[in-house]
């Protein structure tokens, strides 16, 4: 499997002296193509920090963040912004759609910002909206859609073009059980088709859709589930 995201001994320290807080402490983390990895932990465990560092929205105090082999620190602001438009898709709890733009326009925006022509960008947006099951809603505005539909648009925006890394921060938080499950099915599908996904969640039921579940406590990875089968864990317990 190709490694798409790699955090190598990454730490993030906020403040200094007496008010110093270590949000992430020497964390090593990878997500490969075709893999969905969930990150779980209580508030303040560092899970959102991990995601913002992976998305290049914040920089580590030490260690390196590599996306498709490129060190985010050496890319500079413009390079990172370009990577966010072309390779990384972000999905947020509150959808973060632009209210004045239609579904198709929301999805095509990152492509247009990257210099793709309007017609070509719209065509790509329609493909992405088809992939998330709402091709008929392309010309609706966010306030004309349900929460579940808006989140589908957000996922389409996160995968439009040829993005290989999807970062999702509590994407089902604002949705009911059934709709949340639909969204997870979609995320799962995008990963099965080759994207690497990182899902930050505090819901065990949602984390269970991932291939691996990484547990964070106080900025440190304390355990991981999924690499080993249940039977192996149970056997280890008996020894």
């Amino acid at each position: 499997m190709t490694t798409i995201l790699k955090l190598d001994a990454v730490s993030r320290v906020h403040g200094e002296g007496a008010t110093e807080v270590t949000a992430l402490n020497a964390v090593t983390f990878t997500a490969s193509a075709g893999e969905l990895v969930a990150v779980m932990g209580p508030s303040g465990s560092g899970k959102s920090t991990l995601l913002t560092l992976a998305g290049g929205l914040d920089s580590p105090s030490s260690g390196t963040v590599l996306v498709e082999g490129a060190d985010l620190a050496t890319l500079g602001n413009q390079g990172r912004a370009r990577l966010r438009r072309t390779a990384i898709g972000y999905v947020f709890q509150d959808f973060n759609l632009i209210p004045a733009l239609t579904a198709a326009e929301n999805v095509s925006l990152p492509l247009e910002l990257d210099g793709v022509g309007v017609a070509k960008a719209r065509a790509a947006a329609l493909v992405a909206l088809g992939q998330v099951g709402i091709p008929d809603l392309a010309d609706r505005f966010p306030d004309e859609m349900s929460g579940g539909q808006q989140q589908r648009v957000a996922i389409a925006r996160a995968v439009v073009g040829d993005r290989r890394l999807i970062l999702a921060d509590e994407p089902t938080g604002a949705l009911d059980t059934e709709t949340g499950e639909d969204i997870l099915r979609l995320l799962r599908l995008r990963c099965d088709e080759g994207a690497a996904g990182v899902l930050v969640t505090h819901e065990p039921r949602h984390a269970a859709w991932a291939d691996r579940v990484v547990f964070l406590r106080d900025g440190v990875v304390v355990d991981e589930s999924g690499g080993t089968s249940v039977d192996a864990l149970l056997d280890a317990d008996r020894v």
Partner: protein, 187 residues
């Protein structure tokens, strides 16, 4: 109880042979609770003794069973009677944690984390099964497993949070002078 009532509920739909009942029972519950044929026939014998089912002919030595009126009443009453949860089954995990926090020298955090990882792996297995297409009956049984497993993880999270709070409170009580000194230096 659930095997007896399950078989009776299946017979409420029409007469069946023992081996058919076993296949139907397992089919509707995704083989979550496998039955052996012996169990099916002993249960049918008891149902017949209690006049809830009766033989309705046989073919090649196999007996066809049919539900009686009394059996129909029993099934109707079963569906409308809530399952009683006040007498919990002995829960090894709850007992283990109760001892882990009271016996000295146990790393309770490790006990919790190790269990949470194993329970999460089980939850991932159930979720993987859910991703395949199943009939409605099995999907609902799977969902029951998913919600029960999730509840265990939530409970473990809760235990960990409680233990952390208790540990913090113990530290504050144990070192009041040091605590005050810290505050003064930070000012």
């Amino acid at each position: 109880m659930s095997v007896k009532m399950g078989l009776l509920a299946l017979l409420a739909d029409g007469p069946q042979y023992g081996y058919q009942l076993r296949a139907e029972f397992e089919g509707r519950t995704g083989s979550t609770w496998p039955l052996n044929v012996g169990q099916v026939y002993t249960t049918l014998a008891r149902l017949e003794r209690d006049h809830l089912v009766e033989p309705a002919g046989s073919e090649e030595g196999r007996v066809l069973y049919r539900i009686t009126d009394a059996g129909q009443d029993e099934v109707a009453a079963w569906f409308l009677t809530p399952v009683i949860r006040t007498q919990p089954a002995r829960d090894e995990l709850a007992i283990k944690l109760a001892f882990a926090v009271t016996v000295s020298g146990v790393d309770v955090g490790a006990v919790i984390q190790r269990q949470r990882t194993a329970t999460m792996a089980a939850l991932q297995d159930y979720t993987r099964l859910k991703r395949q297409d199943h009939d409605l009956a099995w999907t609902l049984v799977l969902d029951a497993m998913v919600f029960q497993t999730e509840a265990e993880i939530r409970w473990l999270d809760h235990c960990e949070a409680r233990l952390r709070r208790a540990a913090t409170e113990r530290r504050v009580v144990a070192t009041p002078a040091e605590d005050t000194a810290d505050k003064e230096t930070s000012r």
